[in-house]
């Protein structure tokens, strides 16, 4: 306005100053300390190990959660574990033996073992711990085979089973089988114990900032019998372990690259090649103890026709899929991966020969099932209806989410129209459980082939596939203790499944752990990539 122009320009100046101050002051205020050679960095490197994981754990009580993660690995100590070559070795236990024709397992405990709370670990505790698991864990059935637990003496416990518990080992070597401080759990109550769980692992809970991080401190009462670690007691080099929950992949990796995090779990596919080139970073990987696969609704036409299923298996170009996954996976054709027990290389060879990509054969299989492209629209049809399938894709499984559209495009080449529908993984599983699907991308991670009983057993699994022979073999597999014989059983199952194709294997993922170079002595154990930090030291000053 004419009568106030000068005044307004003064106001402008004022307002401009306000804006500049509003932006600059916080920046200067907060940045200034960073510009100075500050002697107190926020995260201490020497004695504190920082691990970034994608999601916050549901809880800390291994007997209540449905997914175990790194934190449980550090808090709990299984009786026995697999070493790097998947041989069973002692962790908490001093030794073990199998008796009664394989129907009983006896564990010998060290005499001075304690939980981090100071409560002793005795045979009674082991028994109570397993009993508690059978009461409250979602996986209570894991110990169903155990008919009774006998306390032989204070430091000897015997698990008596109805039949040889071949698949029980798979539980015992994980943290799920680790003893929990039942005495404390009882006095705290289950809810509280889930927040402040006590185990006998190398670290114990100090603080849990919900949604942000968990701080673990060294458990001074820790002792182990692991043969492959040098340090059998508390690690004097790492006082604290901070486990941060960083859901966004890019953020997590950036934190590692920026040096704010020492170890990253759940390395996204896209970051692998980049991290390999980073001289400050080391990558470890373990092979997924399981496979990523397409689950097929074998009860729903036209997928009830095995020819259609085979055509799909033949049309999928696993090499392309893996290429798209930056070669962080291995193309896979059979149902048991190398990091699982009872893996049989021959079956994989046969499967690979049978189901290597072959578009022509796939098309002829479709044609023999009556599906041909009569109207020239690029899609095959039968009785005037095009072959149209819905593919459920889990959004929270990065590998599967990424290959979804590619599989869609590959199936298009043999004339199958695929509609991709993306859901959370748990929802995909629910849909498949309700038989409300055509094709679904799924995956599992479990080292024992007994997992198949939950996927293809006609009554237990409750999926669409049911084959009495397979059911019988699956039940037999549970009881065969001899590894060679057991492998034979599962090889037979695989052969049948390869014929019936209720699942179409796609690939096995390499599961990466990215670690900064100055973190030395880290051991990443198969099959689940659990981290052992007994010997870890973080050297600062080294580039």
């Amino acid at each position: 306005m004419s009568y106030s122009r000068r005044a307004i320009s003064k106001i402008h100046a004022l307002i401009a100053v306000v804006i500049i101050v509003a932006i600059a002051v916080p920046i200067i205020f907060f940045i200034y300390p960073h510009l100075m050679p500050s002697p107190t960095p926020q995260i201490q490197y020497k004695k504190t190990l920082v691990i970034a994981i994608p999601e916050e754990p549901e809880g800390l009580d291994i007997q209540q959660v449905s997914w175990a993660n790194e934190i449980h690995d550090l808090i709990y100590q299984p009786l026995v574990v697999f070493d790097e070559n998947m041989n069973m070795v002692c962790d908490l236990a001093v030794s073990w033996e199998v008796t009664d024709n394989g129907k009983s397992i006896i564990f010998h405990l060290p005499q001075d073992a304690q939980f981090s709370s100071g409560n002793p670990i005795t045979a009674q505790v082991i028994k109570d711990s397993i009993e508690r698991y059978r009461q409250i864990s979602p996986y209570a059935e894991d110990f169903a085979v155990v008919s009774s637990i006998e306390i032989i003496d204070d430091y000897t416990v015997k698990l008596v089973c109805e039949e040889p518990p071949a698949y029980l080992w798979a539980v015992l070597i994980t943290v799920y089988g680790a003893p929990v401080d039942v005495v404390s759990a009882r006095s705290m109550g289950n809810e509280q114990f889930n927040v402040e769980a006590i185990g006998s692992g190398p670290y114990k809970l100090k603080e849990w900032v919900h949604g942000s991080h968990i701080v673990l401190v060294r458990n001074d009462k820790y002792k182990t019998n692991l043969p492959f670690v040098e340090n059998k007691g508390p690690n004097p080099y790492i006082d604290e372990v901070i486990i941060r929950f960083i859901p966004e992949d890019l953020t997590r990796i950036s934190e590692l690259e920026a040096g704010n995090v020492d170890i990253v779990r759940g390395v996204p596919v896209d970051a692998v090649s980049r991290l390999m080139q980073n001289p400050d970073i080391k990558l470890y990987y373990t092979l997924q103890p399981g496979i990523d696969y397409i689950m097929v609704n074998v009860r729903k036409p036209p997928l009830d026709d095995v020819r259609v299923r085979k055509a799909i298996a033949l049309a999928v170009d696993r090499d392309s899929l893996v290429q798209v996954l930056e070669n962080t996976s291995i193309p896979w054709y059979c149902f048991i991966s190398p990091s699982m027990m009872c893996y049989n290389e021959t079956i994989e060879e046969i499967a690979k020969n049978t189901y290597s990509t072959n578009i022509d054969e796939a098309k002829s299989l479709l044609a023999s099932a009556g599906w041909t492209d009569t109207d020239g629209d690029g899609y095959v049809d039968k009785d005037g209806a095009p072959l149209e399938l819905t593919l459920l894709v889990p959004v929270d499984r990065p590998q599967l989410k990424r290959v979804g559209p590619l599989i869609q495009d590959q199936l298009k080449q043999i004339g199958i129209k695929v509609n991709v529908r993306e859901f959370e993984y748990s929802y995909v599983r629910q849909k498949t459980r309700e038989w409300d699907f055509d094709l679904a991308l799924r995956a599992w991670s479990w080292a024992d082939p007994d997992i198949l009983i939950y996927l293809v057993h006609g009554t237990i699994a409750n999926y669409t596939y049911a084959n009495p022979t397979v059911d019988q073999l699956l039940e037999e597999g549970r009881t065969v203790m001899d590894p060679v014989e057991r492998t034979k059983v599962y090889s037979r199952i695989q052969s049948i499944l390869l014929e019936d194709l209720p699942m179409i294997p796609l690939f096995v993922n390499k599961e990466y752990t990215a670690v900064r170079k100055n973190v030395v002595g880290l051991i990443v154990l198969p099959p689940y990539g659990s981290i052992v930090i007994n010997d870890v030291k973080i050297i600062i000053g080294e580039s």
């Binding site: 559209p405 991709v420 859901f423």
Partner: protein
Amino acid sequence: MYKSKIGIMDNVLLNARRIIEGLRMMFYYKMALIGFFIVCAVTIIAIAAPLIALRRYDETNVADRLKPPSSEYPFGTDDLGRCIFSRVIYGSRIALMVGLIVMLIEASIGVVLGLIAGYYGGIADKVISAITDIIWALPPLVLALGIVIIIGPGLLNVVAAIAIVSWPPFTRITRAKVQSLVNREFILAARAIGENNFNIIVRYILPNVLSPIIVLATLTIPSAILSTTALSFLGFGAQPPTPDWGAMLAEGRDKMIYAPWITTFPGIFIVITALGFNLLGDGLRDMLDPKLKI
């Protein structure tokens, strides 16, 4: 509609003059003009997408994956070897469709409720206002997420979910405007000549509340586009291989460092499109009702 013979030319001239006047106003408000041109450009791209695009938007080519921009692939390729340029071009259709459908649903729910609440007042007003307040108080993104989970994924469902949770501004604006109108003399006059409530709402009130609604509707389009982007980020966006910009941005974000072109181009298109509609909306508000509080 029957038009009086006398004065038809007059009428035509009159309307032509109004349109010219509108465009001239637009030139006067430079922001609106910029917005208008951007919106026109995006619309043209959307209509002519098959002519502009170089490939099918869902064509994968694993051999050519993650190629940086080149003459063959002007915007590069993504991790499945799809041409980002073609996807971005087709994406303009998705973006416009999302914006328009959300806007239409929101406007129809919001305006109807607003008209009822504002015109009838009393209990109808209280109930509608309470519902509006409640819905508006809840975090819209999270609510939309819940609805998407119920009705299942897919672009149309996403669109519906966004619309269902974000109509309250329409109701509020309409209601406030209607309330300022109901006791105006021309409404009284209409009642005095015997107009019924329906006709009063439709013929007398609605045309007069239109200008803030148009402004709000224009501003709704970019926010709808941005909301789908946010849902894509959370993993509930358009289903592949739909070339939705938000989904492209969300899926490519892990490669922002070493393959930035995957996200840059869809991102730029989102920003430009949203900016265009926002500028247009803001400009329209300046033209139609500078004191409008949206």
